[in-house]
C-alpha cells in the first residue's frame, strides 16, 4: 500500500470547498425550498469539515467543539426552516422559492 498517498489536510479542505460549492449551487439554482435549505446545510457541513480537519492537524479541541455546536445549530435551523416552509406551502400551495416574490423593489 505504499503507493497510496497519505490523506493530508488539503484533501479535507478540498472536500469542504466542494461541499461549499455544491451548497451554494443548490441554494442559487434549485427551485424547491427544501432543496435550497439542504444547500444551506451543505454549507454548514463544509465548515464542519474544515473545523475538524484543522483541529486534527493544528491541534486543540476548539474546532471539534465548534463543529458539534454547528451540527446542533443546523438541526435547530432545519426544524425552524421546515416549519416555515410548511406554512409557506399552506399559503402559496407551492414551495417554489423563485415564484415567491410578491414584495420587490
Amino acid at each position: 500500500m505504499e503507493h497510496l498517498v497519505p490523506i493530508g489536510l488539503n484533501h479535507y479542505l478540498t472536500i469542504s470547498a466542494f461541499l461549499l460549492g455544491f451548497g451554494l449551487f443548490a441554494v442559487m439554482t434549485r427551485k424547491n425550498a427544501i432543496v435550497v435549505l439542504m444547500g444551506v446545510e451543505l454549507i454548514l457541513n463544509a465548515a464542519n469539515i474544515n473545523f475538524i480537519a484543522f483541529s486534527k492537524y493544528n491541534g486543540g479541541m476548539g474546532g471539534i467543539m465548534f463543529s458539534l455546536f454547528v451540527i446542533v445549530i443546523a438541526a435547530a435551523e432545519a426544524a425552524i426552516a421546515l416549519a416555515i416552509v410548511i406554512n409557506i406551502f399552506k399559503i402559496f400551495k407551492s414551495v417554489d422559492v423563485s415564484s415567491i416574490d410578491s414584495m420587490k423593489e
Partner: protein, 769 residues
C-alpha cells in the same frame, strides 16, 4: 449762526410747511386752503426779498459769502480715514440771494395765478401741496452748500415735477409724460451721481468749499481724464434737468401738466436749476469739459429752435423755445461767459414765466384750446394778455430795450470771444449757431404772436370731431368750466391771473437790471456775479502744458503746505464750531486765491476770453439785432401779409418740414433703441430666469417627469435648478438600483456571493501585484 442763514432756513421750510398742511388738511380747510399756500409763499417771498436787499443792495460785495453747516450723518472713526461725517449746510452768496428772490417771486405769482386758473379742480388742494413741496426742493437746491444735498433736492424737484406733470393723472398722456420726465431725469441723475462719487472718492467730503480747496491744492490723485469725466458727469445732471440734448425729450411732453406748473417748473425755475448747478461746479470744469458743454448747448439751442418753428400747440412752441434758451445758457457757461449765462437764466425766468402764464390765460379763455391754428384775433378780446405777452415775446426774441437783449448778447459776445480765443476754426460754429437760433427764435415767436393775436378768430375752422374730443379730453379733468361750455365768447381773465402777467412783464424791461439798455455789464447783476477763478488749472489736459502744470502744481504744493495745513485746521475747526465760520471762510478764500496762483494757466485763458468777448460786444449787438429783425419781419411776411404761403413752403421743403414737425424723430429713435431694447432684455432675462436658471436643464425636468412614473405627481415639481439636476440623477439612479431588489431570494444570494467574490478578486490581484 448768521442772521441771514436763519432767515434762509425759515424761507426754506415755509413751503414745506405749506405742503404738510395742505396734503393732510386741504379738504377740511375753506377753499381747499389755497390761501395757505399763497400766504405762506407771500411770507417766504417777503423774507427772501429782505435777504436780497441786504445781500445785493446793502453789502454791495461780489465776494459776499456766508455759510453754515451741521453734521447730518456721522460715520464715526472710519479705519484709514479717521472721523468721517456727511454734512448738510447752507451757503448764501449773491447768486443764492438772487435765485432765492427769483424763485420765491415766481412761485408766489404762480400760486396767485393758479387761484384763478385751477379754481374748482377736484384736487385743487393737492395741487397747492405739490407746488409747496416743489418750491421747498427748489429752494433747497439754491441754498445747498454741498453736492450731496444738492443731489437730494435735485431728486426731490424731480419728484414734484413728476407729481405735477401727472396732476391730471387720468389722462394717459399725462401719466406717460410724468413717467418719461422722471426717467429721463434719472438718467441724467446717475451721471451726476457718478460725478459726485468721483469727487467724493478722492476727498471723502461733499462740501463745495472743501472739494475746491483740495482740488486747488492738487490733491486729486486720479488721472486728469477722471477730472474731465467728473465734470462732464456732473454736467449730465444739468443735461437731464435742463433738457439739454440728448435728454431734452421730456420737457415738451411735460406740458401735459397744468399751465401754471409749466410756467413755474418747466420754464422758470427747475429747468434752470441745471444751469445753476453747472455754475456752482463751474470751477471744477476742465477746458475739455467746457468745450463739450459749449457744443452741447449750441446744438440744443439750434435744434430746439428749428423744432419750435413748426409746432402748432401754443405751449409746445414755448416749451421748445425754453429748451433753446436753456441751450443758450449752457452755451454761455461752456464758453466761459459765466455771469452772462446766469444773467440770461434770471431774465429768461421772468419773461418765459410771463409767456407761459399768458398762454395759460389764452388757453383758459379759449376753453382749453391749445392749437394756435384755431386761435387768432385775440388782441381785441384780451388786451392785457396781449400787451404783456408781446413784451415778453420781444424780450425772448431779444430786441433792444428788453432784458433778454442784454443777457443774450452778453452770451453771444462771450461765444465770439471764446471762438477767437480758442483760435477760431470749428469753434466759430458756436456763435454762428447762436446767432442763427436767435433769428429762428424771433421767427417762431413772431409767428406765435401773429397767429394768436392778429387776424380773425379761426375757432370755427376747427374740425368738429377734433373740437369735441378736445372738450371731452379736458371735461374729464376740469369739471369746473363745464358750466360755460356753451358760451364761446372769449373774455379777459380775472385780476388774480392778470396781475402776475403785469409784474413779470415789467421785470422783462432793461432798466431793472442795468442803466444802459445796450450793456448788461454795467448793471448790478453782472457786477455782483463774477466768474470764479477755476481750481483745476493745475490739471491741464493739453499734453503741452502737462509738465508745466505738474511743475507748477508741485511748486505749489511744496510752497503752500503750511498754507494748506492752516486752511485745513481752519476747515475742521469750522465744522467743529460753526461760530468760528468767518475766520474759516476767510481762510477758504485765501485758499482759493492761492489756487489762482498756480492755476494761472486756465485763469489766463478765462481772462483772454473775457477780454475777447468784451471786444466782441458791439459786433454781437449788431449781428443779433439784425438777426432778430430779420426773423420778425420774416414771420410777418409769412403769417400776416401772406406774401409767402406757409403751407406751400412747407410742401416745397416737405422733408425738412416733417423733420422739424416730428422733433427730429428723437422720440421715435429712443423708443426704438433704449425703451424697446431694455424691454426686450428684460423679457429675455426673465425667460432665462424661469426657464434656464430655474431648471438648469429643461430637458432634464422633462425626463424626470417621464422617469417618475412610480413617483407621485408632485415629484416632477421638485425639479429645479441644481436641486433639479440632483433630483434627476438621484431619481434615475434610484430607478436603476431598485431593480436590483427583484424580490427573488436566490438572486439576493447570487448578488451577495458576487460581491464577496468580486472584492476577494480585487484584493487578491492587489496582493499579487
Amino acid at each position: 449762526m448768521h442772521s441771514l442763514i436763519q432767515l434762509s432756513i425759515v424761507v426754506l421750510l415755509l413751503p414745506l410747511l405749506s405742503f404738510v398742511i395742505l396734503i393732510f388738511f386741504n379738504r377740511r380747510l375753506p377753499r381747499r386752503g389755497d390761501f395757505v399756500g399763497v400766504g405762506i409763499l407771500g411770507t417766504a417771498f417777503a423774507l427772501s426779498a429782505y435777504i436780497f436787499w441786504t445781500v445785493i443792495v446793502q453789502t454791495y460785495d461780489p465776494a459776499f459769502r456766508v455759510a453754515w453747516d451741521f453734521t447730518w450723518i456721522d460715520l464715526g472713526q472710519v479705519p484709514g480715514i479717521g472721523p468721517l461725517q456727511i454734512k448738510m449746510g447752507i451757503v448764501i452768496d449773491n447768486l443764492t440771494a438772487i435765485m432765492l428772490a427769483m424763485v420765491t417771486l415766481i412761485s408766489l405769482l404762480v400760486h396767485l395765478y393758479s387761484t384763478g386758473y385751477m379754481a374748482g379742480d377736484k384736487n385743487y388742494g393737492r395741487y397747492y401741496a405739490f407746488l409747496g413741496i416743489f418750491t421747498f426742493s427748489m429752494l433747497g437746491i439754491v441754498l445747498s452748500d454741498n453736492l450731496f444735498s444738492i443731489y437730494i433736492f435735485w431728486e426731490l424737484v424731480g419728484l414734484s415735477s413728476y407729481l405735477l406733470i401727472g396732476f391730471f393723472f387720468e389722462k394717459d398722456s399725462a401719466a406717460d409724460a410724468q413717467k418719461k420726465a422722471f426717467l429721463a431725469n434719472r438718467v441724467g441723475d446717475i451721471g451726476m451721481w457718478l460725478g459726485i462719487l468721483i469727487l467724493y472718492s478722492q476727498f471723502h467730503t461733499f462740501s463745495f468749499t472743501e472739494i475746491y480747496a483740495n482740488l486747488a491744492a492738487g490733491k486729486f490723485a486720479m488721472s486728469n481724464a477722471w477730472l474731465t469725466a467728473a465734470g462732464l458727469l456732473l454736467f449730465m445732471g444739468c443735461v437731464g434737468k435742463s433738457a439739454q440734448f440728448p435728454l431734452h425729450i421730456w420737457l415738451p411732453d411735460a406740458m401735459e401738466g397744468p399751465t401754471p406748473v409749466s410756467a413755474l417748473i418747466h420754464a422758470a425755475t427747475m429747468v434752470a436749476a441745471g444751469v445753476y448747478f453747472v455754475a456752482r461746479i463751474f470751477v471744477v470744469l476742465t477746458p475739455d469739459a467746457l468745450h463739450v458743454i459749449a457744443f452741447i448747448g449750441a446744438f440744443t439751442a439750434f435744434m430746439a429752435a428749428t423744432i419750435a418753428i413748426t409746432q402748432n400747440d401754443i405751449k409746445r412752441v414755448l416749451a421748445y423755445s425754453t429748451v433753446s434758451q436753456l441751450g443758450y445758457m449752457v452755451l454761455g457757461l461752456g464758453v466761459g461767459a459765466y455771469s452772462a449765462a446766469l444773467f440770461h437764466l434770471v431774465t429768461h425766468a421772468f419773461f418765459k414765466a410771463c409767456l407761459f402764464l399768458g398762454s395759460g390765460a389764452i388757453i383758459h379763455a379759449m376753453h382749453h384750446e391749445q392749437d394756435m391754428r384755431w386761435m387768432g384775433g385775440l388782441r381785441k378780446h384780451m388786451p392785457w394778455t396781449f400787451a404783456t405777452f408781446t413784451l415778453a415775446t420781444l424780450a425772448l426774441a431779444g430786441l433792444p430795450l428788453t432784458s433778454g437783449f442784454m443777457s443774450k448778447d452778453a452770451i453771444l459776445a462771450g461765444a465770439i470771444g471764446f471762438a477767437t480765443a480758442e483760435g477760431g476754426g470749428v469753434y466759430y460754429l458756436i456763435p454762428v449757431l447762436g446767432f442763427f437760433s436767435a433769428m429762428l427764435t424771433a421767427f417762431y415767436m413772431g409767428r406765435q404772436i401773429w397767429l394768436v393775436f392778429f387776424g380773425e378768430s379761426r375757432t370755427h375752422l376747427k374740425p368738429a370731431d377734433d373740437h369735441h374730443s378736445a372738450h371731452h379730453a379736458h371735461s374729464t379733468h376740469d369739471t369746473h368750466n363745464d358750466d360755460h361750455h356753451a358760451a364761446h365768447e372769449v373774455h379777459e381773465v380775472s385780476w388774480n391771473m392778470r396781475a402776475p402777467l403785469v409784474i413779470l412783464a415789467a421785470l422783462s424791461v432793461f432798466f431793472v437790471y442795468s442803466p444802459n439798455p445796450l450793456d448788461g455789464a454795467q448793471g448790478w447783476f453782472m457786477k455782483m456775479i463774477q466768474t470764479p477763478p477755476t481750481v483745476v488749472g493745475s490739471y491741464q489736459s493739453a499734453p503741452s502744458s502737462e509738465k508745466l502744470a505738474v511743475g507748477s502744481q508741485q511748486s505749489a504744493t511744496e510752497g503752500e503746505n503750511s498754507a494748506l495745513s492752516t486752511q485745513h485746521s481752519a476747515l475742521s475747526e469750522q465744522h467743529s464750531a460753526p461760530e468760528a465760520e468767518h475766520s474759516a471762510l476767510s481762510t477758504q478764500h485765501s485758499a482759493l486765491k492761492e489756487s489762482t496762483q498756480h492755476s494761472a494757466l486756465t485763469n489766463e485763458r478765462q481772462a483772454e476770453i473775457a477780454h475777447a468777448s468784451h471786444a466782441a460786444h458791439f459786433p454781437a449787438i449788431y449781428i443779433s439785432s439784425i438777426m432778430v429783425i430779420l426773423g420778425i419781419t420774416l414771420a410777418g411776411i409769412v403769417y400776416v401779409f401772406r406774401i409767402i404761403d406757409p403751407d406751400k413752403t412747407a410742401e416745397a421743403i416737405r422733408p425738412l418740414y416733417l423733420f422739424s414737425l416730428n422733433k427730429w424723430y428723437w422720440d421715435e429713435i429712443y423708443d426704438a433703441t433704449f425703451i424697446r431694447g431694455s424691454m426686450l432684455i428684460s423679457k429675455m432675462l426673465s425667460w432665462f430666469d424661469t426657464n434656464i436658471i430655474d431648471g438648469i436643464v429643461n430637458g432634464v425636468a422633462l425626463i424626470v417627469k417621464k422617469v417618475a412614473f412610480a413617483n407621485n405627481s408632485f415629484d416632477k415639481y421638485v425639479v429645479d435648478g441644481l436641486v433639479n439636476f440632483t433630483a434627476f440623477s438621484v431619481n434615475t439612479t434610484g430607478a436603476v438600483l431598485r431593480k436590483l431588489q427583484t424580490g427573488k431570494v436566490q438572486t439576493y444570494v447570487v448578488m451577495l456571493l458576487a460581491v464577496v467574490f468580486g472584492y476577494f478578486v480585487f484584493y487578491f490581484t492587489r496582493l499579487i501585484y
